[in-house]
Assembly symmetry: C2
Homo-oligomer: 414 residues x 2
């Protein structure tokens, strides 16, 4: 598997575009489309929040109706179209219908997504007037993938893209492309038919619907579902994957190289979401090893990246090992407090923080200052937790808690 | 039931004192004792964190050994005595033994508690040299209750005390006094024999050990276990109650007036802890009614006070109803998103925020600004959530998320 350029349009047959339709008062781009030149097998995972945005309800409905005739994804950023009831679903349906006509696509072939402020109705008429512009952008050659990736952003500070190619067992070379958004209200817990993180994957692999759904659900568990910025699971979280089969060859259904490609793109996007968490200055990666089972490993890793106190300490470059131990202790994972080890993973030699349940000697006698200096320098802080309880491991991604997070979220709508 | 003065020493037979022993470099008081002139029936609830501080292990052990010969509680603030292994327990045992000798109390009759930085050992020798001073303070008349309440504080900005008197069915008048600390690392989940919130109750009621344990466990569920400042469940959380029986009369075991008195003191202390959350500018109270059952009601109320995004919006006086709906949606409580109502409780007329699952009309056309002004003025924001699913209700307490929270926790140890 190799990283390649191209993002969401790296696989054959996909185009993308992003324009400003006026949903965002700032005038930034807010309408994004990804289109395949041929029908796709598609799958999606959605938020498990009981309050589901209209596009989540509608997207799940369209996938149930037909997961083999999907042509693309239309995303509006700036409004979430949540808390809008049946009218919100009707609004979104009307927008998709107009876009399908404008772009010459079959009825019902576009999947919806929205992200932004919860509460307001979707300004359908305003968006519809921008559809000709979207069509023109899609037909123009050039940087459509980049523009599409920008048009789905809200409080994000950068676009998130990834793309790889993988060689299947039968020699077919397939590409997997992806883009994502997500900065706040990030603690995805996505079920099979159920992030506001949005992530879209495209691939030119040939695959059957059930296999695609299974690969997406499985790889989401160890990637997006292991990210937390603020612990708030959104009403709008959605991951879609579209497979148009244009690479030819045999079915990728059970090919590990395909699943690895999907995993690589999802993991890259998930890390980018965590790194760009609202106000974040550092990416926090927590790898738990030696857990009793996978659930314990995931719970322990999630608790550390999710701890408000660990996050604030990280912002202050404070090696506050007590807070890490505290989070492990309340995670629910089975552990012996007198056996666990925690260290900062470093290329040559890891820096111990907790050794057999006690603060590491390295923290004493001014050693804490050296670790503080190290933490200050690191853009990514990779912690390893060894529980010595079993053989399961898991990794979670998060970020620090800064003044900027508070600023962004105390005044998001003003 | 009537509120009375006196705090932890309101019931007959209790004295208290607080002094500076040098654990805190700032020179603020850090050693606190509460003592009964006669043996007490005692009960405790402790953190469910798997990483338990030494005083938690030791305190639970002493209550198991004898819950009828307790004479008092000795608290050190500044160090948590957690992540200190068997040596930490031995340190605490040695401190208690020295204090029992100094204060003329039977061996094993003091209960321990600690709060502060996790990791460092307890400076037993330094504390022991301050014991004569503690004894003198205990013997002096005056403001011992207030000094004891101050000496257990860490990042708290104010002492937390409460006391009531209640008339039992047989006419006996009993008093219940209390004090607490807690500002950060606050999300108590306490089990029967298992905060860092510390709360102590004293009473002169006569009661049997099992009944006292049952009343404490039951009333903790609806009070301290419904508080969240930052979602981090501490290694040191402890509530103790001491009953010396000096009010005479019959046993209070099943007397509802006694349980109500305990509840009133715990609820007052729990609210004070939430209001004094690290960096908090506002108390957030969320009352959920109409839930399917008590677990659902508690989960829904806890999710709203625990939401980082709701907390940040509250700091900004932003009536961001989407975040409230989002938190309710991921709480796990069963709800119909199109039926739920949310309002700000006001003395004359509640202010609707969500009506049957939609943003209230009051938020539109500049109405949002009036609500913003109201939120700015309120020191306590009381939200009511009506789920219309059943008849269960619950209340949770929390606070807003401010720049000061980040500041305090990015640099707590420096």
């Amino acid at each position: 598997m190799l990283r390649v350029a191209g993002g969401i349009t790296a696989p054959r047959g996909f185009r993308a575009a992003g324009v400003a339709s006026g949903v965002k008062r700032s005038g930034r781009s807010d309408l994004s489309v990804v289109v395949s030149s041929t029908p796709c097998v598609a799958a999606g995972v959605f938020t498990t929040n009981r309050v589901q945005a209209a596009p989540v309800t509608l997207g799940a409905e369209r996938l149930r109706a037909s997961a083999t005739t999907v042509r693309g994804i239309l995303t509006v950023s700036g409004v979430a179209n949540a808390l809008t009831g049946p009218e919100g679903i009707e609004d979104n349906r009307r927008l998709l219908a107009a876009a399908e006509v404008e772009l010459g696509l079959p009825e019902g072939s576009l999947l919806p997504a929205c992200t932004g402020v919860i509460g307001p109705r979707l300004p359908v008429d305003r968006i519809v007037t921008a559809l000709p512009q979207l069509k023109a952008a899609l037909e123009a050659a050039g940087d459509g993938a980049e523009r599409a990736a920008h048009a789905i952003l809200t409080t994000d500070t950068r676009a998130k893209v990834a793309s790889v190619k993988a060689r299947l067992a039968d020699g077919t070379v397939v590409r997997v492309g992806g883009m994502a958004k997500g900065s706040g209200m990030i603690a995805p817990r996505m079920g099979p038919m159920h992030a506001t993180t949005l992530a879209y994957l495209t691939t030119d692999a040939k695959i059957r619907p059930a296999a695609l759904a299974r690969v997406l659900a499985h790889e989401t568990e160890s990637t997006f579902n292991m990210v937390s910025v603020d612990g708030d699971t959104s009403t709008n979280d959605t991951i879609y994957v579209l497979a148009n089969g244009e690479a030819g060859g045999g079915f990728a259904d059970d090919d590990p190289a395909f699943a690895e490609g999907v995993h690589a793109v999802l993991e890259s996007l998930a890390r980018q979401v965590a790194r760009d968490g609202e106000g974040a200055t550092k990416l926090l990666t927590v790898k738990v090893t030696g857990a009793r089972n996978l659930d314990d490993a995931r719970a322990a890793a999630r608790a550390v990246v999710g701890s408000t106190l660990v996050k604030a300490a990280l912002f202050g470059a404070d090696p506050n090992v007590g807070r890490i131990a505290c989070a492990l202790g309340y995670s629910g994972a089975r552990l012996d407090p007198d056996r666990m080890d925690v260290s900062i993973l470093r290329p040559r030699q890891s820096v111990p923080l907790i050794v057999r349940g006690r603060p590491a000697p390295a923290l004493e006698n001014g050693g804490g200052n050296r670790i503080r200096d190290l933490l200050r320098q690191l853009d990514e802080v990779p912690l390893e937790v060894r529980l010595h309880e079993g053989r399961a491991s898991a990794t979670a991604w998060g970020c620090d808690l800064s003044y900027a997070y508070v600023q962004i979220n105390a005044a998001y709508r003003t």
